[in-house]
Symmetry: C2
Subunit: 516 residues, 2 copies
Amino acid sequence: MNGADLLCETLLANGIDTCFANPGTSEMHFVAALDRQPRMRCVLGMSEGVVTGAADGYARMAGKPAATLLHLGPGLTNGLANLHNARRAGSPVVNIVGDHATYHLPLDAPLTSDVAALARPMSHWLGRAENADSVGLRTTEAIAASRQFSGQISTLILHADAAWSDTTVEAGNLAPQWLPTSPDIDRIRAAANILKTNQNVTILVSGQALLEPHLTLLSRIATRTGARLMAQQSNARLQRGQGRPDIERVPYPVDQALAAFENTEHVILIGASEPVAFFAYPGKPGRILPNTCQVLKLGEPEHDIAAVIDALAQETGAAIARAPQSDMPPTPDLPTGPLNPDSIAIAVARCLPENAVVCDESVSSGRNFFTHTHGAAPHDFLQLTGGAIGIGMPMAVGAAIACPDRKVLSLQADGSGMYTVQALWTQARERLDVVTVIFANQRYQILHGELRNVGAATPGENARRMLDLDDPALDWVSIARGMGVEAARAETTAQFHDLLSSAFRTPGPFLIEAVI
Amino acid sequence: MNGADLLCETLLANGIDTCFANPGTSEMHFVAALDRQPRMRCVLGMSEGVVTGAADGYARMAGKPAATLLHLGPGLTNGLANLHNARRAGSPVVNIVGDHATYHLPLDAPLTSDVAALARPMSHWLGRAENADSVGLRTTEAIAASRQFSGQISTLILHADAAWSDTTVEAGNLAPQWLPTSPDIDRIRAAANILKTNQNVTILVSGQALLEPHLTLLSRIATRTGARLMAQQSNARLQRGQGRPDIERVPYPVDQALAAFENTEHVILIGASEPVAFFAYPGKPGRILPNTCQVLKLGEPEHDIAAVIDALAQETGAAIARAPQSDMPPTPDLPTGPLNPDSIAIAVARCLPENAVVCDESVSSGRNFFTHTHGAAPHDFLQLTGGAIGIGMPMAVGAAIACPDRKVLSLQADGSGMYTVQALWTQARERLDVVTVIFANQRYQILHGELRNVGAATPGENARRMLDLDDPALDWVSIARGMGVEAARAETTAQFHDLLSSAFRTPGPFLIEAVI
């Protein structure tokens, strides 16, 4: 057994059996080790943004980390943007980044770079396996760190000589499972007191709180106390649809967010952070809550969020209350005429399969999606958590691999979709049940709005050359087919609805270019 | 005038009039400033690997930096791999990376990351414009640093409030031009003495030494003294073809490189580094030169390489010698039958237009390219310098923008081409004269060889799933057309030759999928 085998066996012993990969020469001994171990599922991404984005999507749905396999500093850097998103999602990921043999580093060969320095800003845990004997322990540490709290990013630098050298160290070290601490009951009583005695209270939640049964319990608490229940703007995973609470998110546009909290006197945070503007704007506040608003944080990352919510339900009397009447709007009729983001959302509401996973990177086109889809079949909703575009289609890859029995719907803006368009090929290669909807507005629509905000009434030549994607127009059907994904274009709502229903009934990946 | 205008004007005052960009909200004031200044050419890349790779290609051919415009930490990280290549090429690049308003950073909004920490490993100069008044000075510093030596990577972090705030600072600060120092004449005499009195001497060159008239002068020195003239394995830019010296490069495979220097007793380095193995292998040396070989370095980065070569020519008597007879092989006949890398190279040799720029990321398929193309029309040859794949097509973008009157030939392996496939769209948008040849072998061919080297005789399921790209096969014609680039597939040498000649005669981008 060499260090690479020890790494592989240690991952498997700890339940990590999926490896999203794009290897190179320095990782070839690890590739050979993976090749000797068919229990590990290896999934190739044709750029590292696909690799790390898939690991994030996988972790959100599987509730455990996948490994990634990245080639030296440049391979790592290509994946950092989606590690940023994974970090913001609280997803567990175990990155294995190859590096030169330790003794080769001083020669400064062309691919040499400071891998640790590049990894550190996006990693909660960073370690280095410098010899074969240390690989097992380092891997166990990396896995343990990745399981801390809701999940963390671990990056293990695997030197080539550590991978290829023999070792007699036994595989199978088990990383400890992370155990959350009990909630602070005084703080929960204080929150219950606020809820029972105040108007204009918002319970702002994210993380585990957005999964059932916690979300329904929170909804009972809100109903019983007259508080408003709201989700953070971006969330790793949110369960919604028929029979589940109709939860709104903090709006993205800063003015709408400010308006949403204008009269709020108390905010109780559960798994969420205090809302702030995504970006700063001249003359506008960065904090969304009014200065007079009082904030109580229930539960730090180390706390057991389920226990926090249970205790709060006890203290507010909501645990024994009846479930709130689900005020479910009927699914709206399908509009006629040209496609737009609203008619797309309505079509989705009408034909989304039960228990689907919706991966959302529709950016500006998705603003009204919740409004129309509350009555859709129950589904999980996964968002872009860190604002680094290019996670949508990779996240769909990871979600589909984590949940082979569920349909994945990938709602994808065209501009951000191009960032990691290579993910379509992995969807084809792995025969994943992913239906991708491209919102083809042929522009960075969100930036047109921002440009207006900075006072440029009509974009000139240079602005249009940086914000418009219409010259030439992207032909998404050709691009998808070129990567082995069957595809079609929809220009009317009826066409779109037909394509979508048919895609949901058919196994394997499909892409719809929705011309809006 | 605001800070963003000051930045734009300072770039222009220093001759930087091309900006490769992918902006976001935090850079919107800079976008508005660029929009007010039509003298700046703004070129959009649909992922930042395109942006920084194009800046590298531009710098290599224009001999001056372009600016890049990148969106916060994640936008920067997407571009770091090609900055790694640019750093290894010695290319000047001035990166402008947006960041949040200074006062917004402590709120830790979702897109917040440590931009400086991410930039540092790939930047020679790193600075921060924290207010509008400092933008001019910081930009000048960034430009000055980028011009040091053959070229360096400068990264300027532009905080949003520095961009949008008014300033009365005047634009137009001129960055000093970098001036090289004179050569060390004693060292040159020592080199001349080695050349005149020893057998088995290799002059190993890179950088400016590979451009005319220096290369021809070096060739005269070699001929007169009986030394061997050789280029580094990877070079930013090398001038070759009919009438120019037939210079070979240090081979990539470590065994071939070792064999090439087996009998070498002296190496004189001019603009090159001592050759080392690209990767370490068990039981093989990292240094390529024999232990007994003596190395003399002529010229540090601060030296005037042209003056070094001139002085060496004087000292060896080569300055007044006649130019060596160009021992030019006749262009070989076009082979018949199926395509392969050799027949592709021969077809290129036969129809490459005069003064073309060849951007090479053909990886394993390009190993014999030089053998067949020495008799091709004179051209510039640009390589992958840092081993971070995904620069080929972006580099072609930059070269074509720097040299609008020259044809660009982009020799592209399929696996690495997928990394930054979005560059095709920029080629279409900018109507660039780029002919792309995809070496479609449907695998990471180089890694199959490396896997064999580590003792895995027949790749198993997991190895094939990470190294093969044939399931599904990429349809490059569809992918290219989807991004607005006309394309065709060639399966025989005759087909390929016809497509290539026709593409060279037609303006605008064209892609040939060469099935090998």
